[in-house]
């Protein structure tokens, strides 16, 4: 009897238990993830795009997935069911979180997330009607187990001509703030068999403020999702090393994804996510492109030979050949020595150039061949040297490497071997503004190799440059082919001045992009002074003592003038992108304590923004909260002065102000109002926060 009841009770319990288990198992995905369709505006204006959002609210501990779900799971899929001729853009995915499940890693969302999309209604939509927007959402919601779900959501919006100008939908603003930002930095990648390394290069990025980095690729097959990612900095480059998965056999042409950086801001760690589109780095591309040392050396050699015929180098080479013509009386051995001295001059100069280039790159500078042309001072200096050479060829100036006077077989003192050596140095110097075919690829290869290997390529280039003259010097047969000296040499020499002047003109054109018109004027004035100095010096050679000194004095004074003008050029550099021009459309003035005091004394409210180019949070705040039209209007409407302090290179005035507010770093946002205490805004801004603060004035 008792056993009967007991067994029945047991069975009943079991049934209930199983039922409970079954129903829990058949737990509706709808309970675990609620799906809603939201629209940002209250009404649609015909033809005006608006934003909608698919909101997924997950039960605690449950999650849905990002576009790349990671080791397991499935991304949420949205099929739009919109009225005819409505077009929906791609889904905009908020930055995912890394969700670890045992040894595996997923990318998804816990709590709640909103997937945004832009919808464009047709222009001829009739006002007064109602548009029914709908979507079928298929998702996978998981905790330890996974339950696939499907939901159909819909929303009706009225259509009105004016649309709805809701000043700001907080929900959508918050959702947008969770989207990854466009990356302000150049991202490249390289890879070996084991890992991919993402590099972010920027003058402004400072490695020591970044606490951690996590990269979420769009491609599911690319990386080992669970493996830790290593962050390190090398000078101005931030590197993230990520282990590869064994699935992707070869690297794709581009790596897209989201990079989540955590930045230290005054003791707090603030996350920022950026949309990354990384291209292969030069080194990686070169490696992939099959360029190897042998090929690089050969092309450098060829490039060197071709360089001889470029307008920069051709005059120098021709002068050397004419020199050779003139001195055909010399012993063959001496001629060969001249050839070798010339080659030595070239090779020594190339070695130094390569060394300087590698040293600068090792120090973190983002430069390549032609780096010298990125500095306006170098460009100007090259222009001056070439101009002097041209003047020498034209006969206004006589210097050691020029020919002796026509018909005069007397050798100038400086026509010794050292003359040939310096001719080689000159040839290298004037070769730098020019490029030749084959040069680019071989030098690009050389720069990413270890120094010794890269040097070989540069030496090959130098050898190529020296080759034609050396060939001539070592082949008496060729020398015999040279025409006999005569009047034509002087004419040719003067003619050769013109390719040199053409190069000078080109260099001035390059300079025009690097300095302001005043700086350019300085350079042109310097050229005039050089010409004057050359004439004065030359004059002094033919004059007697006192007059000679006077003429030389004038020459010296002109050179001094040139040096002064170089300073003028330097001061007139055109600034590259800086904190000011980068993102801000809101007019601001540069901060100075004096300006602040003056404005406060006059009773005007002031908004102070202390920022730095290397501060990521500052950058993000700038873009999302401070550069918007609404902020601009608020500042203008209330006549609030906007002062921006750039702390990129430390500024003692700014430091003092920061200390006054108990801060040691940026960002700092202070709103000064007359008659009350200054208000300090939080370090992480949103547009509504800023507008609210400004509204109180």
């Amino acid at each position: 009897m008792v056993s009967d009841i007991l067994s029945r009770a047991l069975i009943a319990c079991l049934c209930v238990f199983t039922l409970a288990l079954a129903s829990a198992r058949a737990q509706d995905a709808a309970d675990l993830a609620k799906v809603e369709l939201l629209a940002e505006p209250a009404a649609i204006a015909p033809g005006e795009p608006f934003t909608v959002g698919i909101k997924l609210s997950m039960k605690e501990h449950w999650h849905t997935y990002w576009r790349n779900p990671g080791d397991s799971g499935e991304p949420t899929r949205v099929t739009w069911k919109l009225p005819r001729r409505f077009a929906a853009g791609d889904l905009q995915w908020p930055t995912p979180s890394l969700i670890r499940v045992g040894p595996a890693a997923n990318f998804g969302y816990e709590g709640e997330t909103i997937l945004l999309a832009r919808v464009t209604p047709p222009r001829d939509l009739k006002s007064g009607t109602t548009a029914n927007l709908a979507a079928d959402v298929a998702y996978l919601v998981c905790e330890k187990i996974c339950i696939p779900g499907e939901a159909s959501v819909s929303l009706s919006l009225p259509v009105s001509e004016a649309g709805a100008s809701s000043p700001g939908n907080a929900v959508f603003d918050a959702a947008r703030s969770k989207l990854p930002q466009t990356s302000p930095w150049n991202a490249t990648f390289s890879a070996d068999a084991r890992a991919i390394t993402l590099s972010l290069r920027s003058d402004a990025l400072r490695g020591d403020t970044i606490r951690s980095a996590t990269f979420f690729p769009h491609d599911n097959t690319l990386i080992d999702n669970a493996a830790p990612q290593v962050l390190r900095t090398e000078g101005q480059t931030t590197l993230v090393t990520i282990e590869r998965s064994q699935i992707a056999k070869s690297m794709p042409p581009r790596i897209d994804g989201v990079l989540l950086l955590e930045e230290d801001i005054g003791g707090k760690t603030v996350p920022h996510a950026f949309a990354i589109e990384a291209t292969p780095s030069a080194a990686f591309a070169a490696g992939e492109g099959g360029m190897n040392l042998f090929y690089a050396v050969i092309s450098a050699l060829l490039a060197g030979v071709i360089l001889n015929f470029m307008p920069c180098v051709f005059p120098v080479l021709s002068i050397k050949i004419l020199h050779l013509t003139e001195h055909r009386a010399e012993t063959p051995r001496r001629v060969r020595l001249h050839g070798m001295a010339y080659a030595l001059g070239i090779i020594a100069s190339f070695t130094i150039l390569a060394g300087v280039l590698q040293a600068l790159r090792a120090g973190g500078a983002e430069i390549g061949w032609g780096f010298q042309l990125q500095s306006p001072l170098m460009v100007a200096a090259l222009a001056f040297v070439l101009f002097a050479l041209g003047l020498s060829l034209s006969g206004i100036l006589t210097i050691g490497t020029s020919l002796t006077r026509v018909g005069d077989s007397r050798l100038l003192q400086r026509d010794g071997l050292s003359g040939s050596f310096f001719a080689g140095v000159l040839a290298t110097v004037v070769a730098t503004p020019c490029t030749a075919p084959f040069m680019g690829a071989s030098i690009g290869f050389a720069l990413v190799q270890p120094f010794a290997v890269g040097l070989m390529v540069f030496l090959a280039l130098g050898l190529g440059l020296a080759l034609p003259f050396m060939a001539l010097a070592f082949a008496p047969g060729l020398q015999r082919l040279l025409p006999r000296p005569g009047r034509w040499m002087e004419t040719l020499k003067q003619f050769l001045a013109f390719p040199v002047y053409a190069t000078v003109a080109w260099l001035i054109w390059v300079l025009s992009f690097q300095v302001s018109p005043s700086g350019l004027l300085g350079a042109l004035a310097a050229l005039v002074l050089i010409a004057f100095a050359a004439w004065a010096f030359n004059l002094s050679l033919g004059l007697s003592n006192v007059s000679a000194r006077a003429a030389k004095g004038m020459a010296a004074a002109s050179i001094a003038g040139v040096v002064a003008l170089v300073l003028v050029i330097d001061l007139n550099r055109l600034a590259g992108a800086n904190v000011e021009s980068a993102a801000s459309k809101v007019p601001s003035e540069a901060f100075s304590q004096q300006k602040l005091d003056a404005l406060l004394a006059s009773g005007q409210p002031v908004f102070v923004n202390m920022t730095a180019a290397w501060c990521i949070t500052c950058l993000v705040n700038e873009r999302t909260a401070l550069s918007t039209g609404a902020v601009r209007e608020a500042l203008a409407g209330k006549r609030i002065a906007y002062l921006k302090g750039d702390w990129t290179n430390r500024n003692p005035e700014i430091t003092r102000l920061l200390e006054k507010f108990g801060r040691s770093g940026v960002p700092l946002y202070v709103l000064y109002r007359s008659g009350s205490e200054p208000v300090i805004l939080p370090q992480i801004l949103t547009q509504s926060l800023v507008l609210d603060a400004l509204k109180q004035i």
Binding site: R25, D71, S72, I145, C146, D224, V230
Partner: protein, 207 residues
């Protein structure tokens, strides 16, 4: 170089070095010898990898509650695959790695009844409630498929096909990687797709 930068560089270099030398917990490499294992099958017998040396072995991680596994069993896809290839002499081992209390857990009796219910024909069903075999192979989801060549090296690791959904209708048009790999191995050809992203429900690791 200031001290701080030096310390950072040193620390990160050390970290990189450690990372490079640390044994990876990720999947075993295709082409490398397959990890050895020893597990109890649904009949209570201990089964080792070496018991099947000289034969082609398929490892199939399964969890009967997982919608992805149900997609393949419900449509008869998995059973057909098992029958086709066990008939040709390969060894098919289904592995159940769910711990007690989690979805998919089965003891010997339940495993056998599942096999009968589903009309499956694996050579054996291995019980791995402590996820030891799963860890050795880096199995992340169910179904996760591995193929081991007669010489003991791993020939395939990854998903069953290229349609990572729970919809049974997707089975028909999907490219079945396991079937293709086994056919290539039979013909003596190298496996053209040796690694793919496996999809499914996560293996219920208890730690």
């Amino acid at each position: 170089m200031n001290r701080r930068a030096f310390t950072t560089m040193f620390a990160s270099s050390a970290a990189i070095l450690l990372l490079a030398t640390a044994p990876s917990q990720a999947e075993p490499k295709v082409g490398a010898p397959a990890p050895a294992f020893s597990a109890v099958n649904s009949e209570g017998k201990t089964v080792k990898l070496s018991d099947f040396s000289g034969k082609t072995i398929v490892l199939e991680w399964t969890n009967d509650g997982c919608p992805y596994v149900r997609k393949h069993y419900g449509s008869g896809n998995m059973q057909a695959l098992q029958k086709k290839w066990t008939d040709q002499g390969i060894v098919w081992l289904s592995v159940i790695s769910s711990p007690p209390g989690e979805e998919g857990f089965a003891d010997g009796a339940r495993a056998n009844s599942l096999t009968v219910e589903r009309k499956a024909s694996p050579t054996a069903v291995l019980l791995d409630p402590k996820q030891q075999v799963a860890r050795a192979y880096g199995a992340t989801v169910t179904p996760h498929m591995y193929i081991i060549k007669p010489d003991g090296t791993l020939a395939y690791a990854g998903g069953i096909d290229d349609k990572p959904t729970t919809r049974p209708a997707d089975v028909k048009d999907a490219k079945n990687f396991v079937d293709a790999a086994l056919a290539e191995l039979k013909a003596g050809k190298p496996v053209s797709t040796p690694a793919t992203r496996a999809y499914g429900c996560t293996v219920k690791y208890s730690s």
